[in-house]
């Protein structure tokens, strides 16, 4: 048994997520919503047997009951998401938000997926690609000892950053910084994003710097970091430690590379994979809860 889901947004993220969702044991993608009739994502969705519309989320609303859509993944933009979410939640659809709008609580699966179980949340936010790639490692340090400040630098290939990401760059830095604090456990967080146009495109790189309050316990932190990397690799196999942890006084630095599966964009776009794989993992958790009956369908008007 699977739970039917809609993909809202037919850009890079929505399309990559669709390709992963088609392989899921818990989630069954049935709709893709776009706004551009010529979008490549919508064409791919039609080829894969999904119903599609280019008339935005409103066109989906009439089909929610007939197609039994219970989960929607929103990969539009931070500006559009609040209105999409309001409409979908009103119809009883649970929303997994892949934009940096961050209306709902943050979910970074290897750190806090378990905490979301049984909470009856109607909107869960996936922070950002950079957040998914780095917050697990901030948490890996902060679970060993207090982190006063954590900072991440996410560098992605220009080709992997669509127009939504580009318009929302401030939302990316703010939401990621908040996620570093709330989910990563750092007292203060900062996020930096760089788009690099090199050809051939560079594989996503992420650097995580933490300042611990006391002298870092090198052995414990190194062990914790390696264990966390293993957790992330369960859903993003190309999540790889390049260097570190490096210890310099109270600074702990970790240098990561994220290679994707090459589902929609080529392998360099690990930023897509880490986001879509985390979102799918979250959607699957919600689906599992629905199937097990531990989650009532959270319609406001139901």
């Amino acid at each position: 048994m699977k739970v039917n889901a809609a993909l809202v947004g037919s850009g890079n993220i929505g399309t990559d997520l669709m390709m992963k969702a088609l392989r899921s044991d818990w989630v069954n993608p049935v709709w893709m919503v776009g706004i551009d009739p010529d979008s490549d994502g919508l064409a791919k969705a039609r080829q894969s047997g999904l119903k599609t519309t280019h008339a935005g989320v409103d066109a989906l609303l009439d089909h929610i009951e007939t197609d039994d859509v219970k989960i929607a993944f929103d990969a539009t933009s931070a500006y559009v998401h609040p209105e999409n979410s309001r409409k979908l939640e009103q119809r009883g659809v649970l929303v997994v938000d892949l934009t940096p709008a961050a209306i709902g609580p943050y979910c970074v699966p290897p750190v806090n997926l378990q905490e979301h179980i049984g909470r009856q949340e109607t909107n869960v936010n996936m922070v950002s690609c950079g957040g998914q790639a780095t917050i697990p490692l901030v948490a890996a340090v902060s679970r060993v000892q207090p982190v006063k400040y954590a900072e991440i630098v996410a560098t992605v290939a220009s080709k992997s950053a669509g127009p939504g990401t580009r318009k929302n760059i401030d939302e990316f830095t703010r939401t990621t910084a908040n996620g570093i604090e709330r989910v990563g456990g750092a007292k203060q967080g900062k996020a930096i994003i760089i788009l690099n146009p090199a050809e051939p495109p560079m594989i996503m790189r992420d650097t995580i710097h933490c300042l611990t309050e006391d002298t870092p316990d090198e052995a414990a932190i190194t062990g914790s970091v390696r264990e966390m990397i293993g957790e992330v690799q369960k859903y993003v196999p190309g999540y790889r430690l390049k260097n570190g942890p490096v210890f310099d006084g109270r600074r702990v630095s970790i240098f990561m590379e994220v290679k994707g599966l090459g589902d929609y964009l080529p392998e360099y776009a690990g930023n897509l994979d880490i986001m879509t794989a985390a979102a799918l993992r979250t959607g699957e958790m919600l689906a599992e809860e629905m199937i097990n009956g531990t989650l009532r369908q959270a319609a406001v008007n139901a």
Binding site: Y149, E151, V153, T155, S158, P163, R166, K167, I169, D170, F172, T173, R174, K190, I192, I193, I194, L195, N196, P197, A198, M202, R205, T207, H209, L211, K242, N243, G244, V246, R251, S253, F255
Partner: protein
């Protein structure tokens, strides 16, 4: 070259680009003293922020001696004629920082992106314009694209609301013909009332020659810094450039002797090291590497016992761009490992 009768606005970078050369440790008192002296010499526009712009305070780029807010609040009220600008790199700083800078009284916001990524600046440029600020689009590492591509990016920034577009030679890589081609293409393709600017680095000692080429091709604003205090081999030394322009009959409104005195008596004494075309800066200019990497590479090179020049060459090969300072330590770690493995193998 005949530039007689032209008018050019000089924009001083000591207190922003110079922050790189000072590991961001210029004090508010030093900022006030340098800015006041520049103001007195007749400089129109003075940039003040962390070297990597508003919000640049970080492990990656370095924590500054004071906050951007403190710097701006200290300098802006002391200016008699000069205006103050602030730099902002989307992805590092946000519109929140921009609003803060406006509240501190800055006149100009310069929104900087890599030369192919102008579309990340829409939020920031349109906000600055709506606030009524002099709004500049600043296209960095401009040697990496052809003039036509630079123009397309400049047009995006112009459409978002920038009233001035810069060709920025962040690596100090360009030669005068490169500058002429880019500035000329911008001048021909942008709106008539959009100003054009050039920001040079002196890594190949081309700061003056390139800035002259820029004026000849139609630039209205030229960046430089007194005594050249800036990243890499520094920016175009402004006191020298101003003297050259004076000889060539270009109007800048800046007093030749007063600016010399600012450079010699106020800026040089606060330098931590001589700003000159040393081997590493020359490598950056020759290989097209972002000038701000210089001191980071020297520090990391010392730590891991890798020649800093080797690190810079590798960063150039990797096509790193402005902001990727985190890759400097990563590269050094890779090189240190490779050298250890080589030793073991021998």
């Amino acid at each position: 070259m005949d530039l007689t009768g032209k008018t050019v606005k000089l924009h001083d970078m000591c207190l922003r680009d110079g922050m790189h050369a000072k590991r961001h440790q210029i004090t508010t008192e030093q900022m006030v003293s340098v800015a006041s002296a520049l103001d007195d010499a007749g400089i129109h526009l003075i940039e003040v922020t962390h070297g990597d712009g508003l919000g640049g305070a970080s492990i990656n780029y370095g924590f500054p001696a004071s906050t951007d807010e403190d710097y701006l609040q200290a300098v802006v009220p002391r200016m008699k004629n000069a205006k103050v600008s602030a730099l902002l790199l989307p992805g590092i700083g946000t519109v929140d920082h921009l609003n803060m800078a406006r509240d501190c009284g800055v006149h100009t916001i310069r929104v900087a992106t890599h030369c192919t990524e102008a579309d990340v600046s829409e939020q920031h440029i349109s906000s600055a314009r709506q606030l009524g600020l002099d709004t500049v689009g600043f296209l960095m590492m401009a040697h990496m694209v052809e003039p036509q591509q630079l123009l397309e990016q400049g047009k995006l920034m112009e459409a978002y609301g920038a009233n001035c577009i810069y060709c920025t030679d962040s690596a100090g890589y360009m030669l005068p013909d490169d500058v002429s081609a880019r500035i000329g293409t911008l001048r021909a393709g942008l709106e008539k009332d959009t100003e054009i600017g050039f920001h040079g680095h002196h890594n190949l000692a081309m700061g003056i020659a390139n800035s002259l080429a820029a004026i000849e091709a139609g630039a209205d604003r030229i960046d430089g810094s007194a005594a050249g205090l800036g990243a890499g081999a520094g920016n175009t030394p402004l006191e020298v450039f101003n003297a050259v322009l004076d000889r060539m009959g270009v109007k800048t409104g800046v007093d030749v002797f007063k600016l010399m005195n600012v450079a010699e008596d106020v800026v040089v004494p606060i330098m931590d090291q001589l700003i000159r075309v040393d081997r590493d800066s020359l490598i950056m200019g020759y290989a097209g590497v972002y000038s701000s990497f210089l001191l980071h590479a020297k520090r990391v090179g010392e730590k891991y016992r890798i020649p800093s020049g080797d690190i810079l060459v590798e960063l150039g090969k990797m096509k790193t761009i402005g902001g990727q300072e985190d890759m400097i330590e990563d590269v050094a770690l890779n090189m240190a490992r490779a050298r250890r493995e080589l030793k073991v193998a021998q």
